[in-house]
Amino acid sequence: MRHELLGRSGLWLGAAAAVTLVLPLVSSSFAIDIYIRVLLFAFIGVAWNLMGGYAKQLSLGHAAYFGLGAYTSTILQIRFDISPWIGMLAGGVVAMLASLPIGALCFRLRGPYFAIATIATAQVLMLLFLKFRDFAWGAEGTTIPNLGDAPLMMQFDGKAPYYYIALALLAIGLLITYAIERSWMGYYLVAVGEDEDAAEAIGVDALRMKRNIYLISAFLTALAGTFYVQYIYFIDPNVAFSFNISVEAALVSIVGGIGTLWGPVVGTVLLEPTSALLQSWLGSGRGGVQLTIYSLILIAVILYQPAGLIGVLTDIATRFAPGRQARAKEAPLDG
């Protein structure tokens, strides 16, 4: 029974992987653009979910790391002619370093106070970069010089290569999450998320766990920042430190299923095309509408399905397969 199940889900996974790989070859440029955004935001969601989902540290300031990643690679590229591939990793390291003092400040606070403090950190960084006129182009921002087809500088002619990069990032994020879930860290993170004091009582260093997962989460988020500005060839503080990034990172995870491997992916697949379509119907500059719809979806999920869409899918699967127990829970929620 168990083998048959494994075989069947293996088949599904294989089919899904094949479709994912072929998709950009058979899609319009408009569609690929949406796919890229889906993959990118799913990746940012996965990065957020490591900390926000498993350890329940609900950050609303992940734009800080997105922006630091974006600026680090752009400055290195334009000022020092260093490839964004290297800049991407450098941005990740900068984000990790920044997460240490930010974490030291914010982790003293719990619940909503923590969330508010993280919002402030991203806003402060945005203000700083607005001031850095000589070094980082201030409020005007800068376009990133288009070198044509230059894979070594992370620039490509068509959209397909960007799609595959975003896909690779997402795959890396999911693999890291999977590995953490299935190790002692997964248990410790969930324990911290559930009850910090009780976790300490059984030997969990809650502060260290939060700091370490914040490092990983910040690193991954910064990679997304570099990728995004390379993709749109433009950076300014509003793009790089956009509050929307922070909100979407949290939103896709919460809607999809917080603290689950696939939650952020499921959430993004629902939300991102919806918002892209809305934008093309309503025209841009109607950010208010998008935010309203996001808020409504979020309220609905929190009220009616706190486990997220993943929870709905599991319920449906159980209903349509009578006699079979809901799929046994796995690490780190069970043995």
């Binding site: 410790y188 324990a191 559930e194 009780a198 976790a199 009582a201 260093d205 780190p332 043995g335």
Partner: protein, 250 residues
């Protein structure tokens, strides 16, 4: 016998309230010491001071030769002190097994090792039938069992139990007493806070009595229940000559 725990002149105030005042007692390895006293006497506060949740205003706590004041709770647990909370604090969305595994992971980072260790402890507290149930679905009593199992999974040398028997019926109290006795028999050192005098008399080798944050008596169980101060402050008259049964709070 070596000293497992040495509490020296421990004090802690909350605003104007002296929750614990100049408390000293010591626990020898292998002993089961009961900490008793009326509601608000400072028993839980003492636990919080010993295990690093509160910082004492003055005084010191040493366990197995090491000063604990200033250490964080997880360090103290790693040093071999495990505690339970008066109101159980399970990790609600984890199953019983995952809860206890999380405790076991302190000494063994491999999931297989932790799972094996956890299964033994879960069996010991009698929760095997529910090991895959989410902890939040357990009854209060089973949550207490889980709390005990999770603490034991960290392989402590000293176990601090805060009212694990509150709300149990007589049969359940007997079971709990048997569990504690078995742990003591295995050589575990135990400090137990409990209002159920019958249980105290059955397991304690030594009793420390607190009232208004101060130690008013200590000694072996027979001495303590005969002590006039203890009777006045806590047990009530009529207790000294009666059989040690019942709950002193009733």
């Amino acid at each position: 016998m070596a000293e497992a725990l040495a509490v020296r002149n421990l004090s802690r105030r909350f605003g104007g309230l002296r929750a614990v005042q100049d408390l000293s007692f010591s626990v020898q390895e292998g002993e089961t010491v009961a900490l008793i006293g009326p509601n608000g006497a400072g028993k839980t506060t003492s636990f919080n001071l010993i295990t690093g949740y509160y910082r004492p205003d003055t005084g010191s706590v040493a366990a197995f030769g090491r000063e604990l004041v200033g250490l964080r709770p997880h360090d103290i647990c790693a040093h071999g002190l495990a505690r339970t909370f008066q109101v159980a604090r399970p990790f609600g969305k984890m199953t019983v097994l995952a809860n206890v595994m999380t405790g076991a992971l302190l000494r063994d980072r491999s999931l297989d090792g932790a799972r094996e260790r956890a299964a033994q402890v879960i069996d010991f507290v009698g929760l095997s039938a529910k090991q895959h149930a989410p902890a939040r679905d357990l009854t209060t009593i089973d949550q207490r069992r889980l709390e005990l199992a999770r603490a034991l999974a960290t392989q402590p040398r000293l176990l601090l139990l805060d009212e694990v028997m509150a709300g149990l019926n007589p049969t359940e109290i007997d079971q709990a007493v048997a569990l504690v006795a078995k742990l003591a028999q295995r050589g575990l050192t135990i400090v137990i806070v409990e209002h159920v005098m019958r249980a105290i008399m059955a397991v304690a080798t030594h009793i420390v009595v607190l009232d208004h944050g101060q130690k008013i008596a200590e000694g072996n169980p027979q001495e303590v229940v005969a002590n006039q101060d203890v009777i006045r402050a806590y047990l009530g008259t009529g207790y000294a000559h009666a059989e040690p049964v019942g709950d002193a709070r009733c």
